[in-house]
Symmetry: C2
Subunit: 339 residues, 2 copies
């Protein structure tokens, strides 16, 4: 007689019979590969050279949103952090913290999304963990993914390489992920038109590194806190100014409308499928053209500004109407649990 | 004016000013090294050869217990999973899910424990992440640590290498971690005498591999679900029998008393500082002696049984009084949130 269950209990986190059943029926079946097959405490593989290593925990709410769910977000987010190190993502770990009572059907839908996103990104989930906490001590499901990638041989991605005159490239339109989440939370009427941009960006990054090598000075994906936060971090870290032009920032019409309706500045809204590159001036137009040629993701890529010695540590925006204003580091929380 | 705070707010997870402050004041200050120094989305380092990769999320409750806290548990647990792959632990990632309202003082105490445990184990925390969830959607703090290690050149650790006749070694007394946690939860009078065994075991493992190489067939640390669960898993996976002798299983007096008082079988109680090794018969006594020589951790190491072709897939215990009973895989949850 096959044993089934509808909702998670604490016993699914015990390490015993139910944990085993949960793993065999779900994770191992859906994500099977030679590493998981070993059922060991960790995975062993051969890799050599410069490696990248990253981690992120995902607590997004709601779990399912237009354009994705916590599952593909957890894969793409970690894949993209590896890409930001100039690396080709290779291996992921996957760790769940489940709340007692969470539905098995939703869990399986998330696992399926993880499988699909891993296949798309060309990464293998090779090791994992599952814990269950009591009802009211978690929120359905939290996912941690950590990842290992192989750094591109020509990559010299380091904030210390950013120079005055560098151009600031963005690989696509801003604020899509955050507004997709907000549309569900706020029950906006045009909800169905807003889609998260969650997607892996490493192929675009690796193509840039193939073509331009160490002229790609730095990379960062503007997730939590959006473009404004990333630019502020890098301005501070380099003690250089970031001068950007509002008119150049790609923003889709319905995203802009939603931002206006909710009083949100799209520069502070999270993204999950774009990246910012600081590139030497000499290659910036060619790099832009290459990104744009990788359609559709890069069609709306743009040079949004440059690195300057004026206003060190600050981000300054030239507005549509010709004024200039400082884009500050956000001090509070605009959009909790966006990723 | 220096900004301070007593308790976490959602804004500490925003990616903005407060996240930055939190990281600079805490994680980066306490754990500083050349990799964290980069403040990037991931860490880049050189490593070559066979690598081990593992992940675990820690949800232990209470956070502080005799002998340790969630911080050193999260370091040692992942260090030990790497050791179970026959690897020397090298790099850790560290990801926090904090509940709004969690105290900064407790957080700093946990960070200090992480720093100390990392230094003891000789690993570097090189990348991390912090999320904050609303009050009532988490439980103070959950920690994920993932880790990368370098596999010992002579290691051939694979459940597929276990053979009938192999001896089953245990590196120290059982059930200490679980009973330390339970003593706090249940307010037992002898609470102060029960200490978690949380500790890194990789030096013991690497010494065994140095001396006995591929005669060390398999390794597993009996955490959640204890010795009984691990032996059952391996019996099933190999389709061999595990025959163990109650009299040989090292168990400290006060742990035994606590188990009896609470009606718990020590074979099912979690451990965090011991491991089980399946070794070829030929080297088993020498391996035991070597473990015992590595005092204090190994003083109570013991050969607790052997691998047999009888009762395939099952664990059978020869009891003190001479009887034999099957030690089943646990089906329910005995001790939730023990790690």
């Amino acid at each position: 007689m096959e044993k089934t269950f509808e909702r998670f209990t604490l016993a699914h986190g015990s390490g015993g019979e139910l944990t085993s059943q949960l793993l065999e029926d779900g994770v191992f079946k859906l994500l099977q590969n030679e590493y998981l097959q070993k059922r060991h405490d960790g995975a062993v593989f051969e890799l050599s050279g410069r490696l990248a290593f990253t981690t992120d925990s995902y607590v997004v709410s709601p779990l399912f949103f237009p354009g994705g769910c916590i599952g593909d977000l957890a894969v793409n987010g970690t894949v993209n952090d590896l890409a930001m190190c100039g690396a080709r993502p290779k291996f992921l770990s996957l760790s769940f913290i489940l709340e007692e009572g969470f539905s098995k059907d939703e869990f399986h839908a998330i696992l399926s999304a993880i499988r699909e996103a891993s296949a798309t990104a060309g990464v293998l989930v090779v090791t994992g963990d599952t814990k269950v906490v009591e009802r009211g001590k978690g929120d359905k499901i939290f996912i941690n993914t950590s990842g290992i990638g192989q750094v591109h041989p020509q990559a010299q991605v380091d904030a210390g390489n950013i120079r005055p005159g560098d151009r600031i490239l963005i690989s696509g339109p801003v604020a899509s992920h955050g507004m997709a989440i907000m549309s569900v939370r706020e029950g906006l009427a045009f909800e169905s038109q807003l889609q998260s941009d969650t997607a892996p960006v490493h192929e675009q990054v690796l193509a840039l590194l193939d073509a331009f090598g160490s002229d790609i000075h730095f990379l960062r994906d503007p997730t939590r806190g959006g473009v404004a936060t990333v630019l502020n971090e890098i301005a501070r870290q380099t003690n250089l100014g970031m001068a950007i032009t509002e008119q150049q920032i790609p923003l889709e019409g319905q995203v802009q409308s939603a931002c206006e309706m909710l009083g949100l500045d799209p520069l502070y809204v999270a993204n999950e499928g774009i990246f910012i590159a600081w590139v030497s001036e000499a290659v910036s137009v060619a790099a832009l053209q290459q990104l744009q040629a990788l359609s559709p993701p890069g069609q709306q890529a743009a040079i949004i500004g440059k690195v300057v010695t004026e206003h060190p540590g600050q981000v300054v925006l030239q507005t549509f109407i010709g004024g200039r204003r400082v884009v500050a580091m956000p001090s509070g929380e605009q959009l909790p649990r966006i990723c």
